[in-house]
């Protein structure tokens, strides 16, 4: 996908997200101020329940509108990162970086050596050329491997972020459904109990939807902001990934790869989801 198209789409997504976040806040404020007060009807939905249903539907539809383009973009991005072409590209970039830095250095060294070693015909000059060539060969090999591993690492990190965000969405959503189910089970008790208590429950439910959209809105903005470069929390960010290729075979690179584990921590939440289903 052309870079401009990605930025364009993200820009739109971010704007919608921000707008809906405000809607969510508005609903929360309305519910918190007790806008859903009403008389109790034992045989049907209360006015506040009907009101909450309408709002819940509206907010959810908004959230789907925001989610879909961002998720589609993120998945496309992940597919690109996973493709062999992307690994080839990163390898090529890494090699270019090394060649760009090493070739002129090699030329300079050769010129200096030629001037002080009896000229290109001398054995010393030939040895120097051989050593420089070996060094360049070694640097390029490291860069090639580093480029491919970097592509793999980037895919891992972004797919981890993607799964994390979707898991959080599901967890939040299911929590909401769960509290709705609890409300069904305890409906009689709530009716016998205090009207105000039930209102608090409704207010919280609507407030939660607003809150979840707020965070979605923020993630949309984050995604838009990430278009210029790779930024944490935005798996849709595109842009150059600059890796210090000289350090690839060192322990430093190991640390970088291990950093992927950070995204793994989010899977603890997936365990919770499984339990909720059980």
């Amino acid at each position: 996908m052309p870079f401009g198209a990605i930025v364009g789409t993200l820009g739109v997504g971010g704007t919608i997200a921000a707008g809906t976040g405000i809607v969510g806040l508005g609903l929360s404020a309305a519910s918190a101020s007790g806008a859903f007060n009403g008389p109790v009807d034992s045989n049907g939905p209360t006015p506040e329940e009907l009101q909450a249903t309408k709002q819940s539907k509206k907010v959810f539809e908004f959230s789907q509108k925001i989610r879909k383009p961002i998720d589609a973009l993120a998945r496309k991005d992940l597919d690109t990162l996973r493709s062999p072409g992307q690994a080839d590209l990163q390898e090529g970039n890494a090699v270019n970086q090394v060649m760009g830095a090493d070739s002129p250095a090699l030329e300079r060294t050769l010129a200096t050596t030629a001037a002080g070693s009896g000229g290109p015909g001398s054995g010393r000059f030939a040895a120097r050329l051989g050593a420089a060539g070996s060094q360049l060969d070694s640097d390029v090999t490291k860069a090639k491997v580093g480029g491919r591993l970097s592509a793999l690492q980037e895919y891992l990190a972004r797919s981890g972020q993607y799964v994390d965000r979707k898991s959080q969405d599901l967890e939040t959503g299911m929590g909401l459904v769960q509290s709705g189910g609890d409300a069904a089970a305890s409906r009689q008790a709530a009716r016998i109990g205090a009207q105000v208590q039930r209102n608090i429950g409704t207010n919280q439910a609507v407030g939660q939807i607003g809150g979840s959209l707020m965070s979605l809105g923020m993630s949309g903005l984050s995604a838009a902001g990430g278009a210029g470069g790779v930024s944490p929390g935005s798996e849709t960010g595109v842009g150059g990934r600059v890796v210090d290729l000289k350090n690839i075979p060192s322990a430093g690179y190991r640390g970088a790869l291990s950093g992927v584990a950070g995204s793994g921590q989010t899977y603890g939440s997936m365990g919770n989801i499984a339990m909720a289903f059980g």
Partner: protein, 128 residues
Amino acid sequence: MNGGGGGVPQKGLSPMQSELFRQGKVLVKDYFENTAPLAQEQANLATGGLLLKGMSAVDQALETPNPAPGIQARSAARYGISLTPDQQAANDNASALTKASTGVMVKNNARSSLVNAQRGMTFGGVAA
């Protein structure tokens, strides 16, 4: 206390509960279609797949042609260097040694990095 309906059993879900249930179904469908396969892939990577995939990437990188010898040859041509057979043999030996040792070093480092990353993913909970 307003006790209206205290003894009336509820018939079905209220509109809000139905809506929440519908939303839940949408979320679950989306999760199983779009996210679960990716999560499974991550779990597979955390339990050996990353090492396999990473090392095959390393092998692939080592197998693709290296442009460096071309640079070396062009530099030699540019400075008018022609090596004696002994010099050529020494040069070739040095290059082969560099290539072999670089390959071993890169593989060892990559393997160690990948194992560490895998372990991190496992303890992070991906494979749990």
